[in-house]
Symmetry: C2
Amino acid sequence: MKVLIIEDDALHRSYLHEAVRSALPECDAVMESENGRLGEIDARKLRAEFVVMDLQMNDRNGIEAARTIWRERPDTKILFWSNYSDEAYVRGVSRIVPGGATYGYVLKSTSDERLKLALRSVFLESQCVIDREVRGIQQKGMGAGHGLSDAEYEILVDVALGLTDKTIASRKKLSLRTVQNRLQQLYEKLDVYQEAGDDESRYNLRTRAVAVALMRRVLNASAVERAERDLQDDADC
Amino acid sequence: MKVLIIEDDALHRSYLHEAVRSALPECDAVMESENGRLGEIDARKLRAEFVVMDLQMNDRNGIEAARTIWRERPDTKILFWSNYSDEAYVRGVSRIVPGGATYGYVLKSTSDERLKLALRSVFLESQCVIDREVRGIQQKGMGAGHGLSDAEYEILVDVALGLTDKTIASRKKLSLRTVQNRLQQLYEKLDVYQEAGDDESRYNLRTRAVAVALMRRVLNASAVERAERDLQDDADC
DNA sequence: GCTTGTCCTGCGGGAACCCGCAGATCGCTG
DNA sequence: CAGCGATCTGCGGGTTCCCGCAGGACAAGC
């Protein structure tokens, strides 16, 4: 049994190494990659079946790396180990996990015990382990709370990229008015409105929405980057 | 001599503790706070003269914490120890450092030696130590490169907050047209334009600009949050 | 003095936005 | 089937944005 660690912080990497060693004595090789790009290459080269990785990495995002790894071997078991439970990350992960794949999502703030438990559960028993807090974010996304639906999230991303209503409409094969309708749903969900009062302190709803999304951690820079890359790919086709 | 460590990651905190101990044997007490908010309180309580802190923290940003610490004791010596050299952070720091204060900015990726050297230089010899890479970002901001001037940065932040041209004008006591002029400078600097070609893939310049700024790390979520808080304060007055 | 450059300001028009109103489609339920 | 709700679509308007053109204020340099 071989385990691949993808993590760009040296301290965390060695900590993970130690945790894997002690949690999985049946593991006979622990490899390390120090960013997402190298992680993809190493995973391919080693035919890794067991991966534990960070999400926020400089060179190449954990989500992107996981996506290509899963594309090549959908049965790879991946344990995400992240600092944050931002909705953007949680949503990003659940967006790329292939059907039936087993994975885990634990926060770096959890105890040694839980990390080791998660390692064993995910890798040996093919059980999905999601931290309580992360679970909460997931729920909020689906439930009737002020979370965003998929349609709303998609339009949020397009708007955050700086696209025009018309452009979004033609990309999504929708009418212009429909796009604007969804935008208004979005504004409502994000609690963004014209500050009806005087001539002071009005908002540009469109940019205000992305500001609020950023502050609520619904969106983050890497989500925008991923979308940008998808956009470029579309354009090339 | 007492040193206060403000860092929310347990691993990094203990690593820093060790580094301080070995770099500064004359230091007789090392305290730790595990986020920005507690850091402010502890610094006040302990009358800390020497602080080493992270920038990216969950509860309260390193920049905000440093601002209040420096406001209370401008001669505090602070060494920032950060993962990133995002322009948003670098600019944020240099925006709050009081005249004549000594501080340092080193990246977490630098070696033990350099970290210890920085600790001694900043704390004992009152010398400012800025990592080479960070220095590079600073230069780019000032120099004739495609970095942003202060005026452009300010308007970028206001736009990112979602304010209207008119609102910005009245807040900044400028004419509407002037604000729009600056916006156009900004668009040029960020290389944002209408994609003149067809009817496809046009941009909404305003939101496109914040997207590009996010991707170039000129802006980040915490910069937006800080601006938002300032905005609310203004409104209250 | 004149010129040159940089910054601020006003005007005007075309485009994009925000949004209310109304009709059309589709799925669901009694 | 009739009725209801949710979603998509078109139209029209008021507002805001993007930007070219043109003038005025001020400093620096020939």
